[in-house]
């Protein structure tokens, strides 16, 4: 039977079982790296460096994990802090386009083009906050309340970003929907 995250965490805490921590890394690396790639606007190398720092810090602070949120949510919180600190240090490698204005609408879908490609292009055109909240909501499966706690934003702000992001996506992908 596959051990739960809690069981693996207990093994790390009790006997410093690095294989158990390795299993936790393996289990969550994709979500954390995807999240950081998202924040760094697709800079895979930088995202992986930050992801590595995230897991190392998680290992150091595992004793402080209280289990109030899921382990992945906790990891994403650490990852977001790392990204924010890197940005504060004004590391030139880190994207500072946090509130970049959306670019004009993507052109109408060309015959034979793929909806997913257009979606990826459309997501890139949302503001960073809209992208972030949509990512946390839909790709990481966090509730609005979890996102608000996670980002230290008011719940209303989270809901607004998600609603605006969805609306912008509908607009950008209108060519795919004859009803809009």
């Amino acid at each position: 039977m596959t051990p739960s995250d809690s069981e693996l965490i207990a093994r790390v805490l009790v006997s410093d079982d690095r294989a158990a921590f390795g299993e936790l890394v393996l289990r969550h690396q994709s979500a954390v790296r995807n999240f950081l790639r998202h924040l760094t606007r697709g800079d895979a190398a930088l995202a992986d460096d930050l992801a590595q720092e995230t897991f190392v810090q998680a290992y150091r602070g595992l004793g402080r994990f209280r289990g109030e949120a899921s382990f992945l949510t906790w990891l994403l919180g650490i990852a977001h802090n790392h990204w924010r600190n890197a940005r504060r240090r004004r590391d030139p490698q880190v994207s500072l386009a946090d509130h970049a204005a959306p670019e004009p609408s993507i052109p109408a879908a060309a015959p034979g083009s793929d909806l997913r490609q257009d979606l990826a292009a459309a997501l890139q055109q949302l503001s960073a906050d809209e992208q972030l909240t949509l990512h946390l909501c839909y790709q990481q499966g966090l509730t609005h309340n979890e996102i608000a706690a996670h980002l230290d934003w008011p719940l209303g702000t989270v809901k607004t970003h998600i609603a605006r992001g969805k609306e912008a996506l509908r607009h950008l992908l209108a060519a795919w929907d004859p009803q809009t």
Binding site: V25, R33, R64, L123, D177
Partner: protein, 120 residues
């Protein structure tokens, strides 16, 4: 061709699928290599153990030297008068108000922010 994203559920599913599962490609191994040594992680716990051991040694030494409860209370008696004067200061409503405002300000500035940020 995929159907158009004309409802919330469809849009959510599309966004969910837009980030593919990333292959590990040695990432986990690199993380495990970068983990600190066990001693470094447990240093705060060791500090606590040393403090507790020091306190226990101090108590043991005092007991060995023949210290008693009455000797301790006798030693504390001279401290009672200054303590009483200090407590009397708090009878002044102005002082209490000033301290309350100060405490409220400090609590506001250093308040716990969110469940998530408390984790770090």
């Amino acid at each position: 061709m995929n159907p158009p994203p004309n409802d919330d559920a469809r849009l959510a599913a599309l966004v969910r699928q837009s980030a593919p599962e990333l292959a590990d490609d040695g990432f986990s191994a690199r993380v495990l290599t970068a983990l600190p040594a066990r001693e470094a992680v447990r240093r705060p716990r060791l500090r606590f153990v040393f403090c507790a051991a020091g306190a226990a040694a101090g108590i043991g030494f005092a007991y060995w030297q023949g210290a008693s409860w009455s000797a301790l209370t006798d030693g504390l008696t001279p401290l009672l008068a200054p303590t009483a004067r200090l407590v009397a200061v708090f009878a002044d409503p102005g002082i209490v108000l000033a301290l309350t405002v100060t405490a409220a300000s400090l609590l506001f500035v250093y308040r716990p922010r969110t469940r998530a940020t408390r984790l770090f």
